[in-house]
Symmetry: C2
Subunit: 252 residues, 2 copies
DNA sequence: CGATGATTTGACGACCGTCAAGTCTAGTGG
DNA sequence: CCACTAGACTTGACGGTCGTCAAATCATCG
């Protein structure tokens, strides 16, 4: 349902080749496959600001913060969340290495959501004013930047489908399949991975309670769809999980 | 909760002044307040393609259609919707005059959702390739285009908050308040307007059934929050409706 | 005026949230 | 190394919200 990073899945582009070239940060992973040449890469290097380490539980930015930078995740995982009038959170997404944070802030010059590190992480700051100036001279980068913003729009549409249309079981299956496919796009296993977020965050993201998540994990375990140990997950029957996501496999 | 078009709410810019200047389509309403001069406006005119009428119930585009144009709504209302594996719809938004459609398609060069006219409507086609070429020479327009994409991201985040966090009553109140504020931004009343969409579309959008919408309308009527007659709505107590949206007024 | 689809209303039940208690885990300090 | 603690997670019982189903009523349009 939700999409993989297309830039990481282009044919002939391996994650290793990108890492090798990457001189500064994951932003390059996103640009290289789009056809940036070495000269363009150097220009990009020049505007990319300092690296910044973000400790587990620390906010990269908060709702209402003035907007100056986009952030490319080099390492680690983040969650983004809205806060409603009562101070309750709504998790709007989980982000991992190679993804871009902060695009929601362009519209009002203030961040519209908060971003928190789920583990010790590292980002590259990309001053947006500089980036926008650079875009004028680099049509390829411009194109790619538009694709990334558009992709965030489609990602969120998928979440709306999930929240508006799916039952609890289906939502949770979709969540796992999506995580797996994103790890696969990064060269990791799509069936064995660690959940970087708490049950609470998962539940919040999926519009369910922590208890429901716990029960769903147990149900999937009993059906031999999953092996679960704490935050370690192994998907034993990915096709069936995908069928549940699609709504083909009715209940389970 | 969801946002108004900021470009239509800048101080000193009335909807009339924009309409007067607007030579071709509502895209100009979006650009003028951002500081485009007359020369820039003319350049924009040149790339904007033909107007296109779309009849009620007709699709402007469908999921999977190849992407060539963005569409600026001149007149009328649209809904956008996803379709899941079982062919069920999930309405992801309602759009009105002055709003832009199709930005989700940039990422994959195919439309990621379908758009259908809720009444006889009219749009301007904006060939995206031409627009992107133009953006290179017009930093102001570039800036504005990025704001519009970003705004779509924040809008969707608000819907995620709505679907993930709110109860039925609160969702419906939020929906009405949002509609009102968007009409207000266009120079119409924020308390008396016509619903252009069916109960079914509203329910689908809010993750509720048509029956629930009907009951909610009735409840609000009994509480003297609304006067309702078919699709005609008059909000009698906007502050209280806003309080319900915010979750301040507990149940009602 | 008749027909078709949209909307309303009621009865009922399922799904999932709430509450409460219990268990496990990881991190800390003795 | 173990005891202790706080927080994360699990499990069970119960209830409420909202979905499902069915029937009736109401608009709209040829």
């Amino acid at each position: 349902m939700m999409q993989e990073l297309p830039s990481l899945t282009l044919p002939g582009v391996t994650i290793e080749s990108l890492k090798a070239r990457c001189s500064t940060c994951s932003m390059h992973q996103l640009c290289l496959p789009m056809g940036l040449d070495v000269g363009d890469m150097d220009k990009l290097d020049k505007i990319i600001g300092r690296r910044r380490k973000v400790q587990k539980g620390e906010n990269l930015f908060r709702i209402g913060d003035p907007f100056t930078n986009l952030y490319a995740i080099r390492l680690g995982h983040f969650k983004t969340y809205q806060i409603n009038a009562n101070g309750e959170e709504q998790v709007t997404g989980f982000q991992m290495g190679g993804e871009l944070l902060g695009m929601d802030a362009i519209s009002t010059d203030r961040h519209y959501c908060s971003a928190m590190a789920l583990e010790d992480s590292e980002v590259c700051e990309i001053p947006f004013a500089s980036l926008e100036r650079l875009l004028v001279d680099m049509p390829t980068l411009l194109r790619h930047f538009h694709r990334m913003m558009s992709q965030e729009i489609t990602r969120e549409q998928s979440v709306m489908l999930l929240l508006g249309n799916m039952q609890a079981t289906q939502r949770f299956a979709a969540f796992l399949v999506n995580l797996g496919s994103r790890y696969a796009a990064r060269g990791y296993s799509d069936t064995a991975f660690q959940l970087r977020m708490s049950r609470e965050d998962i539940g919040n993201y999926l519009g369910l309670t922590i208890e429901s998540i716990s029960r769903l994990l147990n149900k999937f375990k009993k059906q031999e769809l999953l092996r679960v140990s704490n935050r370690e997950v192994e998907v034993l029957d990915l096709p069936r999980l995908k069928a549940i996501t699609a709504g083909t496999e009715t209940c389970s």
